[in-house]
């Protein structure tokens, strides 16, 4: 368990003030904040790598506020991985192990186990600068896990990766967390990453924690501009993805099924932009489209455009121009059809 009490950190031009967090043992905790919010410094402060002004840091019931970083037992993964360029992958993994009082065979065994866990056994003799981004990330992760940390700190671990690798590494993070039940604090500016991975999410803004809660709580009742703006621009659903009728996939969201394009299966999240949804009075039929019937439950007037909430259920937020809104003569309580392409849904 990680507990941060009234942490204040001076960042030169601004302050982190009264940061209070409690991360349960085995929890995957996300700190979500815009770029430039000092998320890296926050993690460094927890790890003892950045001086703090005041406050306390507790790890599994032990106060570590004044402890040197090497005595805290905190695994750290930087955004750009920070692999030791003068050491092979194997020696990177052994770096932390070498400093533990253990028989040599045991260290070797742990190193091999980690390499296998992350699927990097074939890379052990390689030099870090010959690796791809995804491979480096896995090595950095294995290295951080090598010290059997009480908490693992991940600083934007996916943001330096291309979209495809990102998805792959994200799955990997999820699976490893499931297997090891490793207490993890992961900072990111990416909402979908936060929703996909976080047991709970803390929203950071203006040097403070603005909100802490599950993804559902945060995105459906945001109390920060940063989250609210995102929540407006995405429909986020959680559901079970399974095989569809003709080779595709279907997600079941609270009993409502629609087609999606993905290779992933199981309990996942889906996001859909309001502007990708078409509203009509009659059903539109086309093989690549999902057409669902629902009722308009809410209308938010934004001038040239309007946001309509259509409950099928679940609720879909849809964007319509004022012109089509008036042409269709839409009103609250009216039954409509919403139509969107399977490919417009992002599964993560």
């Amino acid at each position: 368990m990680v507990e941060i009490k009234d942490l204040t950190v001076n960042l030169g031009n601004f302050l982190f003030e009264e940061i209070n967090l409690k991360v349960e043992k085995g929890e995957y905790f996300i700190i979500l904040g815009p770029t430039g919010a000092g998320k890296t410094v926050l993690l460094e402060s927890i790890a003892g790598l950045h001086p703090i002004k005041s406050g306390e840091i507790w790890l599994d019931g032990r106060e570590v506020t004044k402890l040197e970083p090497e005595k805290r037992g905190i695994g750290f993964v930087y955004q750009d991985y920070a692999l030791f360029p003068h050491l092979s992958v194997k020696d990177n993994l052994l770096f932390g192990l070498k400093r533990r009082r253990q028989p040599k065979e045991e260290k070797q065994r742990v190193m091999e186990w980690l390499a296998e866990l992350l699927g990097i056994t074939h890379l052990l003799e390689r030099s870090p600068d010959t690796l791809s981004g995804g491979e480096r990330q896995k090595v950095a992760l294995a290295r951080a896990l090598s010290i059997n940390p009480q908490v693992l700190l991940l600083d934007e671990p996916l943001s330096a990766l291309d979209p495809q690798t990102r998805e792959e590494v994200q799955q990997e993070l999820r699976q490893i967390h499931r297997r090891l039940k490793q207490t993890t604090i992961h900072v990111t500016h990416d909402f979908e990453e936060a929703i996909a991975l976080g047991d709970r999410i803390a929203v950071l803004g203006g040097g403070r924690i603005l909100q802490i809660g599950t993804a559902d709580e945060i995105f459906h009742h945001p109390n920060s501009e940063f989250v609210a703006r995102f929540a407006m621009t995405r429909n986020i659903f959680t559901g079970e993805v399974r095989d569809g009728t003709h080779g595709g996939a279907i997600i079941d969201v609270a009993g409502t099924n629609f087609e999606v394009v993905t290779d992933l299966r199981g309990w996942l999240h889906a996001s859909l932009r309001p502007e990708d949804i078409l509203i009509s009075k009659e059903p539109l039929h086309s093989s690549a489209r999902n057409s669902l019937k629902g009722t308009i439950t809410h209308i938010a007037d934004r001038g040239a455009t309007l946001y309509l909430t259509v409950s099928t259920p679940p609720d879909f937020v849809c964007l319509v121009t004022r012109r089509s809104f008036e042409e269709l003569a839409l009103a609250e309580g009216e039954a409509v059809y919403i139509t969107f392409k399977a490919s417009a849904v992002h599964i993560f």
């Binding site: 460094e44 790890a47 003892g48 790598l49 040197e68 970083p69 090497e70 805290r72 905190i74 695994g75 750290f76 930087y78 750009d80 920070a82 030791f84 360029p85 003068h86 770096f95 932390g96 400093r99 533990r100 290295r143 951080a144 090598s146 010290i147």
Partner: protein, 268 residues
């Protein structure tokens, strides 16, 4: 055809101009050295090498410069690391101070050192009490070389450390390494090229020192002073082979060390 050649030249005017200017300075460096080396016949060079006085002077130069470099490594590398990692008021001043020995005339350096390490002064007396003399003694040669050449090492090592990502050191700490262990297993190995390159420069600069050593310890005789003595007493013909020999030995060692320092680094 001719028009094509003209166009080819016209498109590369900048490169060609710069190459020509560069050639001038390269020849300026190369010709005097080559002429000196090749104006002594190999047999004269060989005879010179067999002279005990010459051999011991060259050996003394190499040896004293090596000791000075070793002292520079022990005292200068920590400073270089400190400067690379910390910001503090007056840092600019400290950095300027380190480079001062490069600009001070070397005769003046010798006099300045004499005023501190001479036996009539406090520090000189203190060393004298433990049996170390600087004036007309090997330690005097070493400190003269150290003074004029250590800036090359500190500057180069500092640049080496600055290139090492601080985050690598931080990660090392989280993995259980103390600050000392981190320095020796991360920072030092990663800055070794800068340190080694600086050490080679320092050593080479030490060997070439003349003025400061002349004031502080013209005896025992180091090679540049031997060359000067012979020039003064017997003329150019006697000075030339010693000078040529010194240059040849220095160039050989310099090339070997540089090739080690820049091993694996592509320049094309």
């Amino acid at each position: 055809m001719i028009r094509n050649i003209w166009r080819w030249i016209a498109q590369r005017r900048l490169t060609i101009t710069f190459l020509l200017l560069g050639m001038v300075i390269l020849l300026f460096i190369f010709i005097p050295l080559a002429k000196m080396i090749f104006s002594s016949s190999p047999s004269i060079l060989w005879d010179t090498l067999l002279e005990g006085e010459v051999r011991s002077a060259i050996w003394l130069s190499l040896y004293c410069a090596l000791i000075a470099t070793a002292v520079g490594l022990v005292l200068g590398v920590p400073l270089a690391y400190f400067l690379a990692r910390h910001r503090f008021p007056g840092k600019r001043f400290v950095e300027a101070l380190i480079d001062v020995p490069i600009v001070v005339p070397h005769i003046a350096t010798g006099i300045a050192l004499l005023f501190v390490f001479g036996k009539s002064f406090l520090i000189g007396r203190a060393f004298d009490a433990i049996g170390i003399d600087f004036v007309f003694a090997v330690p005097g040669i070493i400190i003269a070389m150290l003074f004029v050449s250590v800036p090359f090492l500190i500057d180069s090592a500092k640049q080496g450390f600055e290139k090492v990502d601080v985050r690598l050191e931080k990660v090392s700490r989280t993995l259980g390494a103390s600050p000392w262990q981190t320095f020796f297993s991360v920072s030092l190995p990663l800055a070794k090229r800068g340190i080694f390159g600086g050490a080679v420069m320092m050593w080479a600069r030490g060997i070439s020192e003349f003025g400061a050593v002349l004031v502080l310890a013209s005896y025992p005789t180091i090679a540049p002073i031997l060359v000067y003595d012979r020039l003064e007493q017997y003329g150019l013909d006697y000075a030339l082979p010693v000078a040529a020999l010194l240059v040849i030995i220095c160039i050989i060692i310099f090339i070997v060390l540089r090739s080690i320092a820049y091993r694996g680094e592509r320049t094309w």
